[in-house]
């Protein structure tokens, strides 16, 4: 009976035009869109205009170095255009303006003892766009200062080795990558959206359960030899399989389209099964509790979107404030995402993601228990 109810539900889902879009098309679209956008961060050409009032070999070399090290594209403007560029910044239409003063080349050579001020005009609210450029300028300024110091030490008669010792840093940074695989945006986006869209299955569950209740189907089925529990389990099985298919499709897409390394297949399989059980378990509970489709949708949006943000599905949880990081540990999405990344980035096996599996299993069980407890009331309201 459970199997027959599930089979009927799959037939219905296959007949609905929106099914493939909502369950597969939209998640893949999100992955492609955000993967492309976020994957290009740092690689995109941001253009910053500059005015070179010095026009010396030194200023040209300086500007070339800035462009190379910052990754920005520097676009030359004439001094006469300076006011226009500043107006653009004030109106929020420009990112910044770099101005090399007259006499820059001479000051680099130490002539006259003066220090030139390279001016960086920027929009106050656009810190994030121009901040990397500022950092590069500061590094270059430090670099030039070291060169000046080295020249002064050489003039003072220090040998090469003595100059090297004097200028060496107090400490070095030894960057050691412990993960088996490096982090990239795909290892965030693909599992992140896979987890997020599992919970979107709740919307389909709501439409079916409440639709059947409204239409009188639930009541009619009670007059047949179908047991009430079969109905609940049959519908759960139907949507559990849908969620499993969805997860497999999205992870396979990530693997074949972006070369995402999925890690230990058994660990991934265990995580996927419990993630789907968790999502559909919560879905059953929502369907039994919601008095109307609108109410259920509102709760689902809160759960899916709120859970996506708090769970670190859209961007690494480490970027969040500590309080938010603490709250995130109460979301199943956090544990699912952590499980995926432990497997994909840190080479974990099933034993290594035990905590994630346990949390998902507990949430799934809680959802099912709530659904069972509320089921009688659901049936009673369906019978009128």
């Amino acid at each position: 009976m459970v199997w027959k109810i599930a089979k009927n539900e799959w037939k219905l889902l296959l007949k609905e035009k929106g099914t493939f879009f909502w369950l597969l098309g939209m998640p893949i679209l999100f992955i492609v869109l955000f993967g492309s956008v976020l994957g290009s961060v740092g690689k995109t050409d941001v253009t910053v205009p500059y005015v070179d009032n010095d026009r010396s070999e030194a200023s040209k070399a300086f500007l070339a170095t800035v462009e190379e090290k910052s990754g920005y594209v520097l676009e030359e403007k004439q001094p006469a255009d300076m006011e226009e560029q500043l107006d653009k910044i004030r109106d929020g239409k420009g990112t910044g303006l770099l101005v090399v003063p007259q006499g820059f080349g001479q000051s680099l050579n130490g002539a006259g003892g003066a220090t030139s001020a390279v001016e960086l005009y920027r929009e106050a609210t656009n810190e994030s766009v121009v901040a990397p450029l500022r950092a590069v300028l500061e590094n270059l300024a430090n670099g030039y200062r070291e060169t000046k110091i080295a020249s002064a030490l050489a003039a003072a008669g220090l040998s090469d080795k003595e100059r090297e010792n004097a200028l060496s840093a107090a400490f070095s940074i030894d960057d050691r990558l412990e993960n088996g695989t490096g982090y990239n945006v795909i290892t965030q986006i693909v599992p992140g959206y896979t987890v997020m869209f599992v919970f979107f299955v709740i919307i389909s569950m709501l439409k079916r359960f409440l639709g059947d209740k409204e239409s009188g189907m639930t009541a009619r089925l009670r007059s047949t030899r179908m047991s009430p529990l079969s109905y609940l389990l049959g519908m759960w099985l139907a949507f559990l399989v849908v969620a499993l298919v969805q997860c497999c499709a999205l992870l396979a897409f990530g693997h074949f389209a972006y070369g995402l390394q999925l890690g230990d297949p058994l660990a991934v399989a265990a995580l996927v099964v419990l993630l789907c059980a968790c999502g559909t378990g919560i879905g059953l509970a929502v369907c039994m509790i919601a008095k109307s489709e609108n109410q259920g949708m509102a709760f689902t949006q809160l759960l899916t979107m709120g859970g996506a943000v708090l769970g670190g599905l859209w961007f690494p949880i480490d970027l969040m404030p500590e309080a938010v990081q603490t709250i995130s540990r109460f979301t199943p999405q956090y544990w699912a995402q952590k499980g995926f990344q432990d497997i994909m980035l840190r080479g974990a096996h099933a034993s290594g993601i035990g905590y994630s599996l346990l949390v998902l299993a507990l949430v799934a069980s809680a959802g099912l228990i709530i659904a069972l407890l509320r089921y009688r009331r659901f049936i009673r309201t369906a019978l009128g």
């Binding site: 027959k4 009188g216 009619r220 007059s223 047949t224 030899r225």
Partner: protein, 307 residues
């Protein structure tokens, strides 16, 4: 003969609203029993209790001698319930819908395919088996709705207003199907607020209002006991006729007038004489059978049909 349905003093309350207030009636096996009453009378609630969807607050129900509360599962094998609303999956074909319901009624797999064919033949939709229900007219959907309740060969069909909003062709199909079921020994419990349907299909009936049975028995018994015969007169010029000597004032009905009387023959003769004396041309003069509508009006003071 053992009653197919024995309903005894059913009470059901929804909050402060009393839906059933001691409803009692018996339905003999075989034949069609009509449950007639206006909207809100308690017909659907009674149907749902008989089908096992609801529990009464008080009272008892027995289906073919089995107590409804205690032997619910075995009773479900015997009953086919046709709800008032069309409960089908519109995106699935008629065949797929029936296959689903056949599975829910636990019709054996080896039998189900042929049984679906038989039932579709019975409701006159064998040629539309593969079509999505969404492409059907309202009447056709109602026929599939009924077909779904016939798959497991029930001994009792409970039909809750099965002809609401359908075309005459579909209604005729349904009527023919009910007659055929009766001939096959199936008991049909049929609820409606259309008296002509009861008159066309049912041997026995109960008139329900405000959760109580206000009249029950065979159709003829109910009409005789509670109805009053009348004489109908329509004049050629459409004017108001004279009062027949020794009888009450006529009341307008349709294009003519009626006088209610327990002596219709005498009233007819008196009225004919009055018209002859006044040299009035008579278009129609006849004794009319009391209607269930009139019976209901006399018993409750209201009409059967809601606005």
């Amino acid at each position: 003969m053992k009653a197919a349905i024995a309903v005894n003093e059913l009470f059901k309350q929804y909050g402060s609203k009393t839906a059933l207030d001691g409803i009692t009636f018996d339905v003999s096996a075989g034949g069609c029993f009509g449950l007639l009453g206006p909207n809100g009378a308690g017909k659907s609630t009674t149907m749902k209790i008989l089908s096992g969807l609801l529990e009464p607050d008080r009272g008892s129900v027995a289906i073919f001698g089995k107590a409804a509360g205690k032997e619910r599962d075995s009773i479900k094998e015997l009953i086919g319930y046709v709800p008032q609303s069309i409960t089908l999956y519109e995106k699935l074909s008629a065949r797929d819908n029936l296959r689903f319901f056949g599975d829910m009624y636990k019709v054996p797999k080896r039998e189900l395919t042929s049984r679906i064919g038989e039932v579709l033949e019975q409701v006159g939709l064998a040629d539309r088996a593969k079509d999505a229900v969404s492409t059907f007219s309202g009447g056709m959907k109602r026929r599939v709705n009924i077909a779904a309740a016939l798959l497991h060969r029930p001994k009792l069909i409970i039909m809750d207003e099965p002809t609401v909003g359908i075309d005459p062709q579909s209604r005729n199909h349904i009527f023919e199907m009910i007659r055929s079921l009766k001939q096959g020994g199936v008991t049909v419990l049929y609820s409606t607020h259309y008296m002509e349907e009861v008159e066309a299909l049912c041997e026995d009936l109960a008139i329900v209002d405000h959760g109580r049975v206000i009249a029950s028995g065979s159709l003829d018994d109910v009409l005789e006991k509670h109805g009053t015969q009348a004489v109908y007169l329509e004049l050629q010029d459409g004017s108001r006729p004279p009062i027949p000597n020794g009888f009450g004032a006529p009341v307008p009905k349709g294009r003519g007038w009626t006088v209610e009387t327990s002596s219709p023959l005498d009233a007819l003769a008196s009225w004919a004489q009055a018209c002859r004396s006044a040299s009035l041309g008579v278009k129609q003069l006849e004794i009319v059978r009391p209607s269930l509508e009139a019976v209901f009006l006399s018993l409750t003071g209201t009409t059967l049909r809601d606005n």
